[in-house]
């Protein structure tokens, strides 16, 4: 399959800091990809470059096979919904009508359904909407645009858990009906994890993990139990994090555990709890206390 998005050696330098450094990644056409990382990691800068709203200092960007900046053909086939998306001073219905003119695949019926799902009324002035309702409007436009490349940058500021679930459900349902390339940046990793086919994690402007999402489940495991048993089990295995409380220990070990290893853990009376994607990203993205990311090299697919 050809990539819908491809960046190679992408660097974005500002006067006093480097927002992206030698970022290379490819996103397959028709897949949902998670763009994960801390605030300030460079996610928004990358998305803005993909959307043609910012130029890289160096490196190559291709969206749908061409450079996106000032490229009408590409931009019409792409929708970019930002966190705290700003709108001109008009009503909800006007924003939807403008979107229907701009996006060639716009689905008005779907937009109406999403409006109803979120309780958005067309005659309401946008500037009178709550933050969450403004996010809902962005989400409705982002999904109903049915653009070949859909970029969501933390699109749910102010939305509660129920509304976010509506977002995930509608996105999945519409993606199933009309597969397209979707890149969603989020810090709510665990609740969105199952949506992703692939995840790209960036930290301090660099890609630290780029892997099939489902393959990351069970890639690291917290082993806990009596100190001696934990030591016995983890000897010879790569270990990330060791904690001890009295006679009990808890160790994060890296690498899939096969059936023999699981049987051994059971025999030793150890508890095995796999790391969630979020915990894994915490380690991969070099949060305080996290080890070298080189440990994850064998994991990336």
């Amino acid at each position: 399959m050809r990539p819908a998005i491809s960046v190679t050696g992408l660097t974005r330098r500002y006067r006093d800091h480097v927002a992206l450094e030698e970022v290379s990644a490819q996103i397959e056409e028709g897949s949902i990809c998670g763009l994960l990382g801390r605030n300030g990691a460079g996610k928004t800068t990358l998305l803005r470059i993909l959307a043609g709203q910012e130029f890289p200092s160096s490196g190559v960007v291709r969206v749908l096979g061409a450079p996106p900046a000032e490229n009408e053909d590409v931009l019409r086939r792409m929708v970019f919904i930002r966190e705290d998306q700003a709108y001109p001073d008009f009503k909800v219905g006007h924003a939807l009508r403008a979107a229907s003119w701009f996006y060639p695949n716009w689905d008005g019926e779907l937009a109406g359904q999403l409006m109803a799902d979120f309780g958005l009324r067309p005659n309401k002035a946008i500037k009178r909407l709550s933050r969450g309702m403004r996010s809902a409007l962005g989400i409705a436009i982002g999904i109903a645009a049915r653009a070949d490349v859909t970029l969501f940058d933390e699109p749910y500021a102010g939305l509660d858990a129920v509304a976010r679930q509506i977002f995930y459900d509608r996105l999945l349902a519409d993606y199933a009906e009309r597969p397209r390339t979707i890149l969603l940046s989020t810090h709510l990793i665990d609740e969105a994890a199952a949506l992703f086919e692939r995840v790209v994690v960036i930290d301090r402007g660099r890609v630290v993990l780029d892997a099939a999402a489902d393959g990351l489940r069970g890639v690291a495991t917290t082993v806990s139990g009596p100190v001696l048993a934990v030591d016995d089990f983890t000897t010879g295995r790569p270990v990330w994090n060791r904690r001890r409380l009295g006679s009990q220990a808890s160790v994060v070990t890296v690498g899939q555990l096969d059936e023999a290893a699981r049987a051994k853990a059971r025999a030793l009376g150890l508890d095995l709890v796999p790391l969630t994607l979020q915990q894994l990203v915490v380690h991969a993205a070099g949060w305080p206390g996290a080890p070298e990311t080189a440990n994850l090299e064998g994991v990336s697919a």
């Binding site: 897949s31 949902i32 995930y168 459900d169 999945l172 349902a173 993606y175 199933a176 009906e177 597969p179 199952a194 949506l195 992703f196 086919e197 999402a213 489902d214 393959g215 489940r217 069970g218 049987a263 059971r266 025999a267 009376g269 709890v273 796999p274 790391l275 969630t276």
Partner: protein
């Protein structure tokens, strides 16, 4: 995710759930299994992940594709799954039971008595149950 947990890859969990449904008769041989998109919407997972789970069962010969209609439970699938479950019974249930019994100092005779007693409770008043 509707009831899938962390840990095992999601595609494997989807396959396990379908296999369990076939084994307990919820999905009979010849029944159509839910489509990739139906599974994705129900479990709230990526459709590619759901497809991988279905393919896992198809590769094992438990499901068969009928072109243009979808996936169906293959003949003999239930028997095959029950045979597999039987093979795993010792590893999954008997060994952990023995490990825990040893930890608690429950000896063989006591354990046999406990099983006899629990089996009696479980099977005595269930019509059609199997005597132990």
């Amino acid at each position: 995710m509707a009831g899938l947990d962390e840990g095992a890859p999601l595609f494997a969990q989807v396959a396990d759930r379908l296999a369990a449904e076939i084994a307990d008769g919820g999905l009979a041989e010849g029944d159509r299994v839910p489509s990739t998109n139906e599974l994705a919407a129900y479990y709230r997972i990526n459709p590619a992940t759901a497809a991988k789970g279905i393919n896992l069962l198809a590769d094992d010969g438990l499901l068969e594709k009928r072109r243009g209609i979808g996936m169906f439970v293959a003949d003999g699938a239930r028997r095959q799954l029950l045979a597999r479950r039987r093979e795993q019974f010792v590893e999954r249930y008997v060994r952990p039971l023995l490990t825990e019994a040893a930890m608690l100092g429950i000896d063989r005779g006591e354990l046999a008595a406990l099983i006899e007693q629990s089996g009696h409770e479980q099977f005595s008043d269930s019509p059609g149950g199997v005597a132990v």
